[in-house]
């Protein structure tokens, strides 16, 4: 089975959020008729002061929040695990339609497009598309 994946190189991210913009425009009901990063299935977590830039792709919906939450330390600064979490989760607004929060947003790799839009238009080269074979 062919698995589609997006490889993230956080060191190359410029934090421009073009990925969020194009994702939202591509998935608009009438393609490209609107832009709205809050509808995007990708979110760039940023902490400029500490040079942390991490694109996070929307993963599965969960109806229950985590019981234990870990922390991640980068360059001596501690972050809550939620900052890098892919889930559409009851604890936050991220990865939900802003005007219909009951609808979870999940990355669909842009369906039949040869490349996901965020990968295609990441001019910094932080996102690359990789297919890999996995036994089904």
């Amino acid at each position: 089975m062919k698995i589609k994946t997006i490889r993230i190189d956080a060191s190359k991210c410029t934090g421009c959020r073009a990925c969020e913009m194009i994702c939202s425009a591509f998935h608009a009901e009438q393609k490209y008729s609107i832009a709205n990063p809050k509808r995007a299935r990708i979110n760039v977590f940023k902490d400029e002061e500490n040079d942390v830039y991490v694109p996070v792709l929307a993963g599965p919906y969960t109806d229950v929040e985590c019981l234990g939450r870990n922390t991640v330390t980068i360059n001596d600064k501690e972050y809550g695990e939620c900052s890098f979490c892919r889930a559409s989760c009851p604890t936050r607004v991220l990865f939900k339609e802003p005007d219909a929060p009951e609808i979870a947003l999940k990355c669909d790799m842009c369906g039949d497009e040869p490349l996901p839009m965020c990968v295609k238009w990441c001019m910094a080269g932080a996102l690359t598309y990789v297919e890999r074979e996995e036994a089904s």
Binding site: S11, T14, G15, C16, R17, A18, M21, I22, A25, A28, Q30, K31, Y32, S33, I34, A35, N36, P37, K38, R39, N43, F45, E48, E49, N50, D51, Y53, S83, P98, D99, W121, M123, A124
Partner: protein, 644 residues
């Protein structure tokens, strides 16, 4: 249906603590497009010229460009306009980043702030929910801490914040409004006006869609721009790592009243030192919203931490204090950023104070016992802090070199370096094109700040002219290609034409919100004027061509000129400090020998420029020109006041 625009403004009356959403009225404002255009129109309609900068009646207007929030690349500039406490003229400061697109997504084109709050507040805009919140615990905090605390208080790490630091709170006329780690609306005291209003910050979070008129066309244009964006990305990389510093800055680029960096201070190999420093400390080149370029540099500076810098931020204090050490320069710069201070004006003021002291005009009695001298690292940091907090000598300097000289007297005026009271950058004005465009700019500022455009000669960087044209990078009219072969550092030919045309290019950026870095500044412009206008048409449905768009840019520029004419702005102000006409120095190209500006040639170009703009020889827009731009009401006003 309205495309691209929200057709809404948020009115904020700080005196009464009231906020109200109202219609912008595109039928009246569409001709001003957005950003600076909407700001000057609101200003003309609402702020009589006699209103003082620190009056509650002065407005502080934050406006998005028409294209912000759409898919148009690099459309992220916020334009902030106000009557400047430094120049006492209508002035605008703009910044990139993420704020203006967020404002559009919250459903507004513009935030118009009037009045003065009785206590420190910040404005919180969350779509239709708007409130003024207590900012007493934020008062006194630096700009990074302020943004962090606001995000924590609102429990939302994606909130975009504009804020002031201590300098703005203390109404230092070099105070800026800041955003993120590197974006800064500086130069003419925007932060001082915000501080005077007791407004610490404006935080915004928006979740609404921004619609566009012709989606397929817009995306196709966007794609073509991005496909042409490679050379400019490479150019920035080169700029950051190796080519950013020019030895010419050292030869000419000294602040204060000296004309050359003294020999033996250690600036001889600064280009190499800069490249070495950048190579060791550059950690990332971040970008603003939806921009394929990366004109900022994040540096990990010893003893300071991560510093975000662009363009002149690297060198201002190094040159002002005559200390050949980039780490020192960045330390002072970082201090300015955190206090919310324009580093160029502040560095200029430091050099001015040292000059006065060295020449016996200031003594220890005036300087709180400080001995002011070049080459003193600690002193620079002490003076920056004193200015930010208006303590002792810092209080005098916080009003700018023009006002400070008046207050000090004793001939201090001879040591000032300002244009229309705005302190000059260290970039030298022996360069004829730079001097001219700075003189005519709507903000007395060098290209990339006011309305002026870079020299086409400077733009081609190190590419041969014929190759530059062949590859399609030339953004001026074809018949001017010969100007590429001139040296506009010394030649005057064509300067007025290029400056007038360049102003249209630059002003268009100030209206659409597309950053001028992408649309006109660097050698490999991905968004040439024709593409720029097509992006505007596709997004808004305006359907205008380049000539019509440039006419609208001229309309905005003429209205700014008319407004400032009412404040006494005349031809005599459109110049650079006299010393650049008097003293000869070695030119950018040393083989060309000594250079200085020429009054006769400069004036000739000024006449040509005014004619091209439709202004009188005294820099006042003529009645005919105003009528032709649909500004008949402005003509009547100027006639009623006896200006026309």
């Amino acid at each position: 249906m309205t495309y691209a625009w929200a057709d809404a403004i948020l009115e904020v009356d700080l005196s009464r603590g009231k906020t109200e959403r109202s219609r912008l009225g595109l039928e009246s404002y569409q001709g001003f497009i957005g950003g600076k255009g909407i700001n000057i129109k609101l200003f003309w309609d609402r702020v009589p010229p006699e209103v003082e900068p620190f009056s509650p009646d002065n407005l502080l207007i934050f406006t998005a460009g028409a294209l912000n929030g759409t898919a148009a690349p690099s459309a992220n500039r916020t334009t902030i306009s106000y009557k400047s406490p430094l120049s006492k003229l209508f002035s605008s400061s703009s910044l990139g980043g993420f704020w203006a697109p967020e404002l559009k997504h919250a459903g507004y084109d513009s935030v118009v702030v009037s009045g003065k709050s009785p206590r420190p507040v910040y404005l919180w805009i969350n779509d239709d929910h708007v409130e003024l919140r207590d900012a007493s615990r934020l008062w006194g905090k630096d700009i990074l801490e302020t943004q962090r605390l606001i995000r924590e208080e609102l429990k939302n790490e994606r909130v975009q914040v504009l804020c002031i630091g201590v300098a703005g709170e203390n109404r230092n006329t070099a105070a800026s409004i800041q955003h993120g780690i590197v974006n800064c609306a500086g130069r003419s005291g925007a932060g001082a006006v915000m501080g005077d209003k007791n407004l610490k910050a404006v935080a915004v979070y928006g979740t609404k869609d921004v619609s566009v008129a012709r989606p397929a066309e817009l995306i196709q244009l966007r794609d073509s721009v991005l496909e042409r964006s490679g050379p400019q990305r490479d150019w920035w990389r080169k700029y950051h790592v190796t080519g950013g510093f020019s030895q010419a800055f050292v030869d000419w680029g000294v602040f204060g009243n000296v004309h050359r960096m003294p020999e033996g201070v250690g600036f001889e190999n600064m280009e190499a030192a800069h490249a070495d420093f950048a190579g060791r400390h550059l950690v990332r080149e971040p970008a603003c919203y939806n921009c394929p370029f990366k004109c900022h540099a994040l540096l990990s500076v010893p003893d300071v931490g991560v510093v975000g810098v662009k363009c002149t931020g690297w060198w201002s204090f190094m040159l002002a204090c005559k200390i050949p050490d980039i780490a020192f320069s960045l330390k002072c710069y970082d201090r300015c950023v955190k206090y919310g201070l324009d580093h160029l004006s502040t560095a200029n003021r430091v050099a001015f104070a040292i000059d006065l002291y060295q020449n016996g005009i200031l003594t220890k009695e005036d300087t709180d016992g400080l001995h002011l001298e070049y080459g003193n690292r600690e002193l620079a940091l002490v003076l920056v802090e004193k200015m930010a907090r208006r303590e002792g000598i810092g209080d005098v300097l916080a009003d700018g070199v023009y006002e400070a000289a008046r207050r000090i007297g004793r001939g201090a005026e001879r040591y000032t370096s300002h244009i229309k009271k705005l302190e000059i950058k260290f970039h030298t004005y022996y360069n004829t094109y730079l001097a001219f465009t700075t003189a005519i700019s709507d903000r007395a500022d060098t290209p990339c700040a006011g309305s002026a455009q870079m020299s086409p000669v400077g733009m081609r960087w190190d590419m041969e002219p014929h190759q530059y044209i062949k590859e399609g990078w030339w953004l001026f009219p074809e018949e001017w290609e010969r100007y590429l072969y001139l040296d506009h550092a010394v030649d005057y030919e064509g300067i007025a034409e290029v400056a007038a045309y360049g102003e249209d290019v630059k002003t268009l950026s100030d209206l659409t919100g597309i950053c001028w870095n992408a649309a006109g500044f660097v050698p490999f412009v991905a968004i040439k004027p024709n593409t720029h206008v097509r992006l505007l048409s596709a997004a808004t449905g305006m359907d205008i061509d380049q000539a019509e768009a440039f006419k609208l840019a001229r309309k905005t520029r003429a209205l700014i000129q008319a407004y400032n004419s009412r404040l006494g702005l005349r031809r005599r102000d459109d110049t650079v400090p006299e010393k650049f006409f008097q003293k000869e120095v070695v030119g950018y190209q040393k083989e060309k020998g000594l250079v200085r500006l020429d009054h006769g040639k400069f004036d000739e170009q000024l006449d040509r420029y005014y004619r091209l703009k439709g202004w009188s020889r005294d820099a006042i827009p003529t009645g005919e020109a105003l009528d032709g731009l649909g500004l008949g009401y402005v003509r009547h006003d100027l006639e009623d006041r006896g200006i026309l």
